[in-house]
Symmetry: C2
Subunit: 200 residues, 2 copies
């Protein structure tokens, strides 16, 4: 096989974690991928638009977030290299997105259009399995997050976040983490101050 551009290798490896593809299937899959670069602060999706793609990040970092009526935003997901993102509700039903997705760094994604995925499911049913497994894992992770939000205090959640995503913790501005944890940036600052005190 000719060597692929690095991003494409990343998505093939991602797929290969759950299903094995034939050469022909790989070619077909690669052919429906669309490559896109997004500059820092640029939108990949805006609330109100219809989300017609699933996105796989091959470079950089994105955030998916909801903006409430008062203009506050709440991050539902970060997506760095090797992660999938999108507004699933909008994608599935074709209704306007409630989420915004934008880039926190200059980024690149591979996108699959809905009609191509639907066709992919028919032509290569193994992908039904792949996305089922993807969704199951996401489901478990989200359930975990719901439980943490219900049962833990802010500093516990922050510590667990650091533990689970040490790389993200270093890579992201603090106020983005605060938004993900559901607390104010000021309060996160105070939490960190307390923690550094305790360490001594």
């Amino acid at each position: 096989m000719p060597t692929l551009k690095p991003g494409y290798q990343l998505i093939l490896d991602n797929v290969a974690k759950h299903i094995q593809l034939e050469k022909k299937e790989i070619e077909y899959f690669i052919a429906i991928l669309q490559h896109k670069k997004i500059r820092k602060r640029q939108y990949l999706l805006q609330a109100g638009d219809i989300c017609r793609y699933e996105h796989f990040v091959i470079k950089g970092c994105l955030r998916a977030y909801y903006v409430d009526e008062n203009g506050f935003d709440y991050i539902v997901q970060f997506a760095v290299e090797d992660w999938w993102t999108g507004d699933m509700a909008s994608f599935l039903t074709g209704t306007p997105a409630t989420l915004n997705i934008d880039a926190l760094e200059d980024s690149e994604v591979l996108m699959i259009e809905k009609k191509d995925i639907d066709e992919l499911f028919v032509k290569v049913p193994k992908f039904e399995r792949f996305f089922r497994i993807l969704m199951q894992n996401a489901f478990v992770a989200q359930q975990q997050r719901i439980l943490l939000n219900l049962s833990k205090t802010a500093d516990e959640r922050y510590l667990l976040f650091r533990q689970k995503y040490p790389l993200l913790e270093k890579r992201l501005p603090q106020h983005q983490i605060a938004s993900y944890l559901g607390i104010t940036p000021e309060f996160l600052s105070k939490i960190r101050k307390n923690l550094s005190k305790k360490k001594k």
Copy 2:
């Protein structure tokens, strides 16, 4: 076709919402279902055990919940007729469950064992699609719940819960709803008092 017991018709209708089955496939599917009755207060699954089944509720009402180190419990899901439940993390990985599931009313479920589901996916690949869609919908619902927990106050969440699940709101004891919403029963009581005041 001979008429089926009512619970079986319910699950077939549930499946039929997303995939169409041949007669043979229906028979095969029905054959792997296991029927079980659970009395009120009885466990369907206890934390620490391994969850080997997916459960479909055909009668009654169950709750899936996590108990923290201090003995407080947090409800992650209610399941009434026509809903699926289980501890997905345990089911997928074969590790001990972190969730408990028990019956809030005398209930009945149809269960599918993991090995039978795995075989089902191979013999009737359409079920990959079915569970993919099921998971996608669950994913969207959970994401919604995360957003509500992050962005809304307790009374807003309560009102939205009533709006979304009016039947559950009538059927469940208040303190179970409080646990689902992530507030204390006392505080829910005060919320309700305020709301009834405002209505006048």
